[in-house]
């Protein structure tokens, strides 16, 4: 089977999964005692407005019809208006998800690049002091409680050393007075630094430990011996032969841990007041802004599914043997 066909198959799988998740959310929200309308109808609305919403979301109809309405609306991106912001949910979400994606993507790429590099080096030098040191550090960071890690970083770098801002994504004062593009970028990066560091510290350990284990297994393969016997330099054997193959399980574990990583993302965003989707879902839940909470969850799930999909395609690309 070609890579293209695999991609199509995998994409269909993604759609099916998303459909099931939508159904799950629908059920979850109907499970709640009382009028399902509470999730979409702000108590502050006028009677007429409430009626319009009921119509719009099919809440007056039977459960199966409501379900169809729900699916249709979700696919169109219609989640109603946020109680708290008073604006359409989709406008708010779009902005928030972008902020999260920036942080998540940079964080993931950096963490995996660093983790895999260190992982392959320490596996090559297994049993050495460097290996022991990094394994210990890795184990420590892997189980670090993310918000606490964030707080400690803020305490050291913002509070004591005053190098970075305490939180947020931009300094309103800077952006208020027509800054140049470079000023904007610098201000943004200045804010990005600490949360990014937290992300990287939180994740590099996982990829490093898996890379190390995977390398240790790969290093026993006969083709590594062949590569050495061919008179290749150690570095070539390590990078081109061992690491290239050892990457495969790391990619798999990445795709499996994406959902879990998003959980960590929620906590990091909260600590650093990063206006992303993770922090939004916490805030709006506490504010009982149900339309936004429900939509945020679906967007997060969709993001996880897409990241998952991407990881699987990368895997299929990296491993010529994938022929499902």
């Amino acid at each position: 089977m070609s890579l293209r066909r695999y991609t199509v198959m995998r994409f269909i799988q993604l759609l099916v999964t998303f459909f099931i998740v939508m159904t799950l959310i629908f059920i979850l929200f109907r499970l709640m005692p009382g009028d399902p309308g509470v999730f979409l109808i702000s108590p502050k609305m006028s009677e007429a407005a409430k009626e319009t919403i009921r119509e719009q979301f099919g809440l007056t109809k039977s459960i199966p019809e409501q379900y169809i309405f729900f699916i249709k609306n979700t696919l169109k991106g219609e989640f109603g208006d946020s109680f708290y912001y008073g604006r359409p949910v989709k406008d708010i979400l779009f902005e928030k998800i972008l902020n999260s994606i920036v942080l998540f993507t940079f964080g993931a790429i950096l963490a995996y690049a660093i983790g895999m590099t260190i992982g392959k080096i320490i596996a090559w030098k297994r049993g050495s002091k460097t290996d022991t040191f990094f394994t210990m550090v890795g184990l420590g960071f892997w189980t670090f409680f993310p918000p606490w890690l964030g707080l400690i970083l803020i305490w050291i770098f913002s509070y004591r050393l005053d190098l970075f801002p305490l939180g947020g994504m931009i300094t309103p004062d800077v952006w208020a007075f027509n800054p140049t593009l470079s000023q904007k970028i610098i201000d943004f990066l200045h804010h990005l630094a600490l949360p990014l560091m937290a992300y990287v510290l939180m994740w590099f350990a996982g990829s490093m430990l898996i890379m190390r284990n995977s390398m240790l297994e790969t290093l026993r393969e006969d083709y590594i011996l062949t590569a050495k016997a061919k008179g290749l330099k150690d570095k070539v054997v390590r990078d081109k032969h061992a690491a290239r193959n050892a990457m495969l399980p790391v990619v798999t574990s990445f795709s499996m841990s994406i959902a879990f990583s998003f959980g960590g993302g929620v906590l990091i965003e909260t600590v650093f007041s990063w206006p992303g989707i993770g922090r939004t879902i916490v805030d709006v839940t506490l504010l009982q802004d149900y339309p936004l909470a429900q939509a945020s969850f679906m967007v997060i799930t969709l993001a996880v599914l897409i990241a998952n999909f991407a990881a699987d395609i990368v895997y299929a690309y990296l491993d010529p043997r994938v022929k499902y």
């Binding site: 006969d222 083709y223 062949t226 590569a227 061919k230 290749l232 010529p320």
Partner: protein, 317 residues
């Protein structure tokens, strides 16, 4: 003088339970253009010897003593960088498990090219041409060089591995059980292929196998190994005609054949020893019917009993 001379080689493996005395005082030499066979049961140390010549022993193995002289120079004394130049260019290998000797994520052509580029400064065109020549030599369609290992059958992989071993025109090739995982008919084809190439290129080879019939068909000179030592080393025909060491005799008697009379065979009693704690004196004595008290006390010397016929036994003949 041989192309390769091994003197008193001694190799131990360090394990949690102690030292495994894997190779003990092994000496032999191989003449240029000769095919030498090393035969013995699993764990007798034959692969360890092959790997020590390439200096590719696992990390827990240690060469305790002895010399491996290749074209007049002791390989044990070489630095790692010097060994890198010798590997594949001077001495190459056909590996035991060809199934796994090829990296699954690269096209086979690239894996052969890589070996060529590591040692020779030639243009891509020339190198690619050489790969197709090698492919024709081992009997695979050169167009299939651009495929991945998983697209090959077992026999083809083995042929590709042989082609790879020949890539840099090495002076000496070590073939470690090259046909063990293959079916008889494929094995037969590969063996005759190897013999033909060996004759054509006048190569020096060391052929390692547990199967005495494969060794009998491929090698001019044979070393029989038991529990870390060579017990007998001789030319093939005299060795089979008149084996001197009791173990060699027993080994030859352990293989049923499809030729000749069908007869009841008697196995060697007991099991091969644990090399963590090998028997004293002659390592074969606990299983030997002719053992006397001297065998228990003193390890026999490896002596040239007849011309080109070495044996390590107190009571030869």
């Amino acid at each position: 003088m041989g192309i390769i001379e091994i003197e008193n080689l001694k190799i131990y493996y360090k394990t949690v339970k102690g030292y495994v005395k894997a190779v003990e005082n092994v000496s032999f030499n191989i003449e240029k253009g000769e095919t030498m066979g090393l035969v013995g049961e699993s764990g007798c140390g034959k692969t360890t010897i092959g790997m020590s010549i390439m200096r590719l022993l696992p990390r827990n193995a240690k060469i305790i003593g002895g010399k491996i002289i290749f074209e007049g120079e002791d390989l044990i004394k070489k630095r790692e960088e010097e060994m890198e130049k010798i590997r594949w260019k001077e001495i190459s290998m056909i590996f035991q498990a060809a199934m796994n000797a090829l990296n699954p994520v690269y096209k086979i052509e690239n894996q052969i090219l890589e070996a060529i580029y590591a040692h020779e400064n030639i243009s891509k065109k020339e190198a690619v041409e050489r790969v197709s020549r090698l492919y024709s030599l081992v009997g695979i369609d050169p167009r299939r060089a651009k495929e991945y290992p998983h697209e090959y059958s077992g026999g083809m992989k083995q042929r590709a591995v042989i082609a790879m071993a020949l890539a840099c025109n090495p002076k000496f090739i070590i073939a470690d059980e090259p046909t063990t995982a293959l079916d008889v008919m494929v094995q037969d084809q590969i063996i005759s292929e190897i013999k033909e190439i060996q004759k054509k290129l006048q190569m020096t080879m060391m052929y390692i196998s547990h199967d005495i019939s494969v060794i009998a068909e491929t090698c001019k000179r044979i070393g029989v190994m038991y529990a870390g030592g060579i017990v007998e080393y001789a030319d093939a025909i005299p060795l089979f005609k008149k084996p001197l060491h009791p173990y060699t005799k027993a080994l030859m008697n352990s293989f049923p054949s499809i030729k000749g009379e069908k007869k009841k065979l008697t196995p060697v009693p007991g099991e091969p020893p644990n090399l963590l704690n090998p028997p004293s004196g002659c390592r074969f004595h606990p299983r030997c019917s002719k053992a006397k008290s001297l065998c228990r006390k003193k390890a026999p010397k490896f002596v040239e009993y007849q011309h080109r016929h070495f044996v390590a036994c107190h009571y030869v003949g």
